[in-house]
């Protein structure tokens, strides 16, 4: 750890920033995809049809039981065998993240909706509002407020997990840091640097979520 050369990082800034760009892009796309799929799954899980409910529940259980790392391998190596055409490392990782995170987002959204007490729904219905209006005007606004902090924290987790794509050769931030560290013989230093950057972003993010939570708390 002797003689840490800050110049190494400054000189390699473009490469590192590019890596961070890949990490952030993957995060944003995975959130968009995972949230959409998760919302659909949550609706399915609350469906009145047993078969639909079971399907969504099975999906959630299955995807929550597998390590994300294994899923990334799956999509990277094996899905193209079924599809019969190539799939890039980034795309494969994105698919794995969307499918994996959807299971988590689904559970967050579902428990958010279920956190609104039954009594309120009944009261709403009793005042003569139709079911859709009860959902729109009473349940969803409260559910949304309840789940937003958890959702945001899950997004930060997702950002942390993107570092796993190093196993399939996608040049995310961690991989970029490793390349720089290897090239300039500062591998340990660059690992520490990567840790600091992740910490700053995630800690800052979590703080922001907390402030939002306090401001919009019910």
């Amino acid at each position: 750890m002797s003689g840490f050369d800050l110049g190494v990082i400054i000189r390699s800034l473009p490469l590192l920033l590019e890596g961070m760009g890949v990490s952030l892009l993957l995060t944003v796309l995975a959130i968009a995809g995972g949230l959409s799929l998760g919302a659909v799954l949550a609706v399915l899980r609350l469906s009145r049809l047993r078969a639909v409910r079971t399907f969504a529940a099975t999906y959630v259980v299955l995807f929550r039981s597998l390590p994300l790392l294994l899923l990334i391998f799956w999509f990277y190596f094996l899905i193209p065998l079924f599809l019969g055409h190539p799939i890039a490392g980034f795309d494969a990782a994105l698919i794995a993240f969307v499918l994996f995170e959807a299971a988590f987002f689904c559970e967050i959204i579902r428990s958010g909706i279920q956190s609104v007490r039954q009594g309120q729904i009944m009261a709403g219905l009793a005042t003569g509002l139709p079911y859709g209006a009860v959902m729109r005007a009473i349940v969803l606004p409260q559910a949304f407020r309840n789940m937003v902090p958890v959702l945001l924290l899950q997004c930060i987790n997702l950002f942390k997990s993107t570092s796993l794509v190093y196993v399939v050769g996608v040049r995310d931030f961690l991989t970029a840091a490793e390349i720089v560290g290897t090239r300039d013989h500062q591998l340990t230093e660059l690992y520490v640097f990567a840790a600091l950057v992740y910490f700053t972003l995630c800690f800052g993010g979590a703080r922001l979520v907390k402030r939002l939570e306090r401001r919009y708390a019910l």
């Binding site: 490469l15 990277y76 190596f77 094996l78 193209p80 065998l81 019969g84 055409h85 190539p86 799939i87 890039a88 490392g89 399939v168 050769g169 040049r171 490793e178 390349i179 560290g181 290897t182 013989h185 591998l187 340990t188």
Partner: protein, 290 residues
């Protein structure tokens, strides 16, 4: 009679038009490349001087140069000068699956041609003769395979060196403490920090790592016979003779014209290696006539 003549004329006409560049007749990699408008080269990130990320962030090296030559000939064969070349970074563990599943069209790295692998993939002509070698720190006193007895030694997960070393270890009852590293940088970090006393890798990679290190005089490649016979070749998909023909012809042209000497010199002299008689013979016998 007349309709017969007309028919055979029509038949001849179709033959004449259905040259090799006709998209309908193409198959395998050539068809895929022609349809997608790009040829995808799989490379290593860290195997100088064969296949690595250069200073400009682009892959370069001996194998990459050869692959570019093959790509040029593919363009000529397909009459598609507009074909794009794309790169995908691979590791020893994923290179075969990603070739088989079509993510990349050629693996341009330091892959050994052997019959086990030929059950899944195919190879172009041999481009280099390598073998496993031991790198060690100068202060360990390791001079031969036997000196590795009981010591911590790194091998890269999934490489043929891992299989060779584990077999030798069992055969000669060395009791080596193996550390499975992800790639050469991790292995080097182990060697440098005294976590391990030796790293076993391909001959050129061994020389390259020493030259590229912070203090090259502190490390050495253990001399003597190579621990294995590893003919390196560009990997392509199986059952794809048309693409192999284009590739092997491109290589034979290089071998015949002597251009290979320049490419060899350009990359391998950077790690202090020069062409040995064995390699010269290798290029000669593979330079088949037109």
């Amino acid at each position: 009679m007349v309709w017969r003549l007309a028919l055979s004329a029509a038949f001849l006409a179709t033959l004449a038009f259905a040259g090799p560049a006709s998209a309908d007749d193409l198959y395998g990699t050539l068809k895929k490349v022609n349809d997608s408008g790009k040829i995808v080269i799989g490379h290593n990130a860290d195997s100088p001087p064969f296949s690595y990320i250069g200073a400009n962030g682009k892959p370069e090296g001996y194998t990459i140069d050869l692959c570019h030559r093959v790509a040029e000939d593919v363009k000529k064969e397909l009459k598609r000068p507009d074909l794009k070349i794309e790169y995908v970074s691979l590791t020893p563990v994923n290179r075969i699956p990603l070739l088989v599943n079509g993510t990349v069209d050629m693996v341009c790295a330091t892959t050994t041609n052997n019959f086990t692998r030929q059950r899944q993939v195919d190879y172009l002509s041999t481009m280099y003769i390598s073998g496993a070698r031991i790198i060690t720190r100068a202060d360990t006193g390791i001079k031969s395979l036997a000196d590795l007895k009981g010591r911590p030694v790194t091998v890269n997960q999934g490489s043929s060196n891992e299989q060779i070393m584990k077999a030798l270890d069992e055969q000669q009852k060395l009791g080596i403490r193996f550390i499975n590293t992800k790639d050469n940088p991790q292995a080097w970090a182990s060697l440098e920090s005294s976590r391990s006393d030796a790293h076993v890798t391909d001959e050129p990679t061994a020389y390259g790592l020493v030259v590229a290190s912070k203090q090259p005089d502190k490390y050495l490649v253990v001399p003597g016979p190579r621990l294995s016979f590893d003919p390196f070749a560009i990997v392509v998909r199986r059952d794809d003779s048309a693409f192999r023909l284009v590739g092997n012809k491109a290589l034979a042209d290089l071998y015949r014209s002597g251009e290979i000497d320049k490419i060899y010199e350009k990359w391998l002299s950077t790690i202090g290696m020069s062409m040995d008689p064995e390699t010269k013979t290798l290029f000669k016998v593979q330079a088949l006539p037109e």
